[in-house]
């Protein structure tokens, strides 16, 4: 609670916002009664976060919304990679499919294809949350069909290719029928009607929060059922799983479709939130980013995926950017270190240029010192403490 006060006093301090997030994480892992934990997290996410966003620093709410979007993506990929053990390097393709499904009909762009009558009324957005889900799930199953016979490395390569195919399609489907408007992207994409006089930023925050909540619920229920056990069995030993009566094809397709559907829903939200999308939002690097969230958080762990998404997103949006700004300030102020003036640092060393490197180093250090992830799955944790 103290951290919230501090954030309100110093609305520009990134460190304090990090502290706020840290205290939410601490509340999650602390040994306190469940009702208290739920209370703190609920108040933090439902009340304090929007208040901070509305009155102190709107950018934080944007960061929180992005965290939510990526959390849903990480949770979806967690089913495919963490539970079923199917390494998918093209996951962002499903996100793209969801995003384009709303972008095309939710903008005037669709008039070029279907004649007149577009964009659809904003209210259709809510219908398209489900359309995006269904389209992505079908795409997931379609991808699943040809790659079911592949394992490990081969599967990874094919999914990587699939991700690229979707991106290249988005890039080139402006001819002969202009479906995606190519690299120029689609804009303006319609935004949904907002209840209770909320701002768009708040509305999207709550919508994303709601979806993440549903995704977590679905994830948990699947994991604790015979379906989740079948996925884990496939991850452990495919041959034995099938010999014990697990239908491989159906289980794997289900994993692909479930994972993809979460990405599809978030794609629709993303398109509406950004108003503009183009193929650049769905590059291979994004797929890798989501995979890094899953691995960083702890494979097969639901809280891990959420924490991984938070850490990576905040690192990218705030910490590394803040670090760059800070170094730039030092440079402009002409600070000298060991008699060397930072101002004469060549431009190649501009901090913005090695953000990715810092990110990479953090990942490498994580894998060396805590390979099980930040919040590992219960079982994995047990196993590591035993042996």
């Amino acid at each position: 609670m103290l951290t919230v006060g501090l954030v309100t006093v110093f609305p520009r301090s990134i460190l304090l916002f990090l502290l706020f997030q840290g205290s939410l994480l601490y509340a999650y892992v602390a040994r306190i009664p469940n009702w208290l934990r739920a209370g703190i997290l609920g108040v933090g996410l439902l009340v304090l976060m929007p208040v901070i966003g509305a009155y102190y620093n709107g950018y934080y709410l944007e960061v929180a919304t992005q965290v939510g979007i990526f959390a849903a993506l990480a949770l979806g990929l967690n089913i495919v990679v963490g539970l079923a053990g199917l390494l998918d390097l093209g996951y962002v393709a499903f996100f793209a499919v969801g995003a384009y499904s709303w972008a095309i009909v939710g903008s005037p762009h669709a008039n070029l294809i279907f004649g007149s009558g577009f964009p659809l009324a904003p209210g259709w957005f809510y219908v398209f949350l489900f359309v995006g889900l269904a389209v992505a799930a079908i795409t997931g199953a379609l991808l699943g069909l040809p790659v079911l016979r592949l394992h490990g490395d081969y599967l990874a390569i094919v999914t990587l290719g699939f991700g690229e195919v979707i991106r290249v399609l988005a890039n080139n489907l402006d001819k002969p029928i202009n479906l995606t408007n190519g690299p120029k992207g689609i804009t303006p994409i319609g935004r949904p009607p907002v209840p209770f006089g909320m701002s768009y930023a708040e509305a999207f925050y709550f919508l994303v929060l709601l979806i993440v909540g549903v995704v977590i619920l679905v994830n948990r229920r699947l994991e604790d059922s015979h379906i989740g056990r079948a996925w884990e069995a496939i991850r452990e030993d495919e041959v034995a799983a099938q010999a014990m009566g697990v239908p491989l094809v159906r289980s794997k397709l289900l994993a692909f479709a479930c994972g993809a559907s979460f990405a599809g829903v978030m794609g629709v939200v993303f398109a509406a939130k950004q108003v503009f999308i183009n193929p650049e939002s769905f590059t291979f690097l994004e797929s890798i980013g989501v995979l890094a969230m899953v691995i960083l958080g702890g494979m097969g762990s639901i809280p891990g995926a959420v924490v991984g998404a938070t850490v990576v997103t905040v690192l990218n949006l705030q910490v590394l950017k803040g670090f760059s700004l800070w170094l730039n300030e030092l440079k402009n102020a002409g600070v000298t270190v060991f008699g060397y003036s930072l101002a004469s640092l060549p431009t190649q060393f501009e901090p913005a240029k090695y953000e990715r490197m810092v990110f990479g180093i953090i990942l490498v250090l994580m894998m060396i010192f805590r390979p099980q992830g930040i919040l590992p799955a219960r079982r994995r944790q047990r196993e590591l403490t035993k042996s």
């Binding site: 699947l222 059922s225 015979h226 379906i227 884990e232 452990e236 010999a243 014990m244 009566g245 697990v246």
Partner: protein
């Protein structure tokens, strides 16, 4: 009534090697064993029976259904389940979870039951866990239900594989070297258990076994394979005295090329 399980003229080749050559095999309830020197084609035959391999020729029928062309999970659903020679547990799952996976074909729930959590889901799920613990109890692993499979001692892992196979409610249970790595005492205990299972569950059990004492003690019928062909079949006593069997295991009298395993 037709035969419970019948294979006719099964042939399986790997390139130029004929692993199983025109083997006829039939079995009824009770315990049957397949023995033979290393490389005789015993495990290959198992893999054909459970759908892991497709034979080049021959037929395999279980209760009148052909098993050829069926996937392993479909064969398990029909009531034929197996264990593996080189233990294949789900290493990072707990013992009881391993058993629960074995029940997969018998779970009367779909994805919507799992998502909606309607009362029936909890009811069925509770039943599954109870059965899981009961099966572990049966094979003597009750105290280790929540241990991760990979941390179990070798003998326990073999017993867990047995429990997992039993979880699929098989009529025919195929056990590939279930006593490998066990002491003589443990092996005898396991055989007592198998005898009880046959009695209680009206099972047919087919064993591949190298431990001759175990085989001769427990089997109702013994089949001997050598170089992919069936060379003898009958009661344990009859097989023990068969000249071709002795030759397969010990080599021909006066020959120096006795390379088969004891």
């Amino acid at each position: 009534m037709s035969v419970l399980f019948e294979a006719r003229a099964v042939t399986k080749r790997f390139g130029g090697l004929i692993a199983v050559n025109g083997v006829d095999y039939a079995l009824e309830r009770g315990i049957s064993s397949i023995i033979g020197p290393n490389g005789a084609g015993k495990t290959t035959l198992f893999n054909v029976f459970t759908g892991l391999y497709t034979p080049e020729a021959g037929t395999v029928t279980f209760r009148g259904h052909s098993l050829l062309g069926l996937r392993p999970d479909q064969i398990t659903a029909l009531g034929v389940c197996r264990t593996f020679q080189n233990i294949r547990l789900f290493a990072n799952m707990t013992a009881v979870e391993n058993v629960l996976v074995g029940m997969h074909a018998r779970v009367p729930l779909g994805i919507w039951d799992a998502l909606s959590h309607r009362p029936r889901f909890h009811e069925v799920e509770r039943g599954l866990w109870q059965r899981g613990h009961a099966l572990l109890n049966r094979v003597g692993l009750a105290a280790k239900a929540n241990e991760v499979a990979r941390n179990l001692p070798y003998g326990d892992q073999r017993r867990l594989e047995l429990a997992r196979a039993l979880a699929s409610e098989p009529t025919l249970l195929l056990l590939d070297e279930p006593t490998a790595g066990m002491t003589q005492g443990e092996a005898s205990q396991l055989m007592v258990l198998l005898r009880q299972l046959v009695g209680d569950l009206d099972l047919a059990i087919l064993l591949i076994e190298h431990n001759m004492r175990v085989v001769m003690e427990v089997s109702d019928r013994v089949t001997v394979l050598d170089h992919g062909e069936k060379i003898a079949e009958g009661l344990p006593r009859q097989v023990q005295g068969d000249a071709r069997v002795i030759e397969a295991y010990l080599g021909r009298r006066g020959s120096r090329s006795a390379s088969a395993a004891p």
